[in-house]
């Protein structure tokens, strides 16, 4: 495709250049849609740079069994995505799927986990994701460095992880070679639907497109109503600690600890309602570090070299939102907490639906924001 940045007309304008928007835009570019990505600048809040980088299945879907199936599908398609991105850009995003653990540091934690997994499994239509509940000795066979405080844990063979910073870089590089226009510093102020097309006002002028995809994370909350959609969000703050690089000792990712392909150990999992990402709650860091070293006493020897807080993109009930506008045909909203895990579904499933102009409700109808009109859906507990 030979359109240039001087053109301000596209088949599709994707608003948001994080993991979700970029994955959809890449999927659209692959199908020959003239696509642009309207992004903010480097200083914007970006969950895509703050996340923990798990490709995670276990425990997802309590309250919405379709979410389990959707997540399992992503876990099974991730290697196809990483292969295609590598072939196109030469960048290896280090996707691995050895399975993943969740460890318990008391009998009560293990019992709570067992109960919540049973409730998840007993839902009508739940996908079986082959989770195992293990005691200390069984965990130790796979994770030889666990400490005596580890009572047991759960293992799911579908879990994995990826180098998500490298994926963000790779997908942006792939956008370029696929002819998708990435337009940073294009913060969107208004979207109007007129004469069958969308007129999008940005800080650098007007963009026109036949279709528009909202993928702006928590900011979808304010954009959605401009095109007859809604996206109720309740962002939370998470904190992450990173150690210096060390020799590989952890062959599996955990919900709260993982060792990256480059050797650093990431420790995460906090959640607060307070959403200022310019400060950190140090007592929370202390608890996270303490739990991590009880799980793996050898972590005591390592220095923490970095910590940060980030704001999660979080739909109000924890489940993804994929919806299309009835009043402004061609407008779509996409939000989810798990932009890393679900990336292949966004590229290979959602993008083709958007290219065709209609979401396939058989497959993603459960994720419509109309669910918020009805009964209160229970929170997913997103890990």
């Amino acid at each position: 495709m030979n359109h240039t940045q001087s053109t301000n007309e596209y088949d599709v304008a994707v608003i948001g250049g994080g993991l979700l928007g970029s994955s959809i835009a890449w999927g659209l570019g692959r199908l020959g849609q003239r696509t642009c990505v309207l992004d903010e600048g480097d200083v914007t809040k970006r969950a895509s740079r703050a996340n923990f980088a798990l490709v995670w299945v276990q425990s997802k879907g309590l309250g919405l069994p379709e979410y389990t199936g959707w997540t399992v599908r992503a876990s099974e398609t991730w290697s196809k995505l990483s292969d295609e991105i590598k072939a196109q850009t030469g960048i290896d995003v280090c996707h691995q799927r050895p399975g993943g653990f969740h460890l318990a540091l008391s009998e009560k934690e293990l019992e709570d986990r067992r109960l919540s997994l049973r409730r998840l499994h007993n839902q009508p239509g739940a996908t079986d994701y082959k989770i195992e509940i293990l005691d200390h000795d069984e965990v130790k066979k796979q994770l030889p460095h666990i400490g005596p405080d580890v009572v047991g844990g759960t293992y799911c063979p579908l879990d994995g992880h990826v180098n998500s910073l490298r994926y963000l870089r790779a997908i942006h590089s792939a956008l370029k070679t696929s002819g998708v226009d990435y337009r940073p510093e294009h913060r969107v102020s208004t979207i109007e639907h007129r004469n069958g097309e969308f007129k999008i006002s940005t800080e650098q002028g007007e963009i026109r497109a036949g279709k528009v995809v909202l993928a702006a994370g928590n900011a979808n909350m304010t954009l959605a109503h401009m095109v007859g959609l809604k996206a109720p969000m309740s962002p939370t703050r998470g904190q992450i600690l990173v150690t210096e690089r060390t020799v590989p000792f952890l062959g599996f990712p955990l919900t709260t600890i993982r060792q990256t392909d480059e050797g650093t150990v990431m420790i995460g999992d906090s959640r607060e309602e307070f959403i200022d990402d310019t400060v950190q709650n140090l007592p929370i860091n202390a608890v996270m570090a303490d739990r991590a070293r009880r799980m793996f006493p050898l972590l005591n020897q390592l220095n923490i070299v970095r910590t940060w807080s980030g704001i999660r993109v979080m739909p109000k009930d924890g489940f993804p939102i994929y919806d299309q506008s009835e009043t402004c045909p061609g407008a779509f909203v996409t939000c989810c907490h798990s932009g890393v895990t679900l990336a292949p579904n966004h590229a290979f499933d959602i993008a083709p639906m958007i290219a065709k102009g209609n979401l396939d409700l058989e497959r993603v109808g459960a994720f419509s924001a109309r669910r918020f009109d009805q009964i209160q859906v229970q929170s997913s507990g997103y890990y």
């Binding site: 030889p144 460095h145 210096e244 690089r245 060390t246 020799v247 590989p248 000792f249 480059e262 050797g263 006493p297 050898l298 972590l299 020897q301 390592l302 220095n303």
Partner: protein
């Protein structure tokens, strides 16, 4: 490769580098002591790609002087003065941890 200035009159300090005894001078940084000991091996190998490196800035900025000192890894050798009996291990790639 490196030679001491001839007017260097500070007292000797005994350390070990990779198990070998090295005589440094009071006031030397760990990096200076390793470099002047005349080791032919590269100073270190990086943690991700395993490429050979040596201290570059010698003032705490570049982190290319990382070594293990008395069992604690990834310390900046250019900022830490030698002391008697100090045990220094150079890092060949990622830092080791013991279980």
């Amino acid at each position: 490769m490196f030679k001491r200035a001839t007017n260097h009159q500070e007292p000797a300090v005994q350390i070990t580098v990779d198990g070998l005894p090295v005589t440094a001078r009071r006031g030397d940084t760990v990096s200076a002591a390793i470099l002047t000991a005349g080791c032919v091996e590269p100073y270190r190998y990086t943690a991700v790609n395993g490429t050979p490196r040596a201290p570059y800035c010698m003032m705490g900025v570049c982190f290319d002087c990382l070594v293990t000192i008395d069992g604690i890894g990834n310390r900046q050798g250019c900022l830490i003065p030698v002391s008697d009996g100090m045990v220094i291990t150079r890092q060949n790639g990622k830092r080791e941890i013991e279980s």
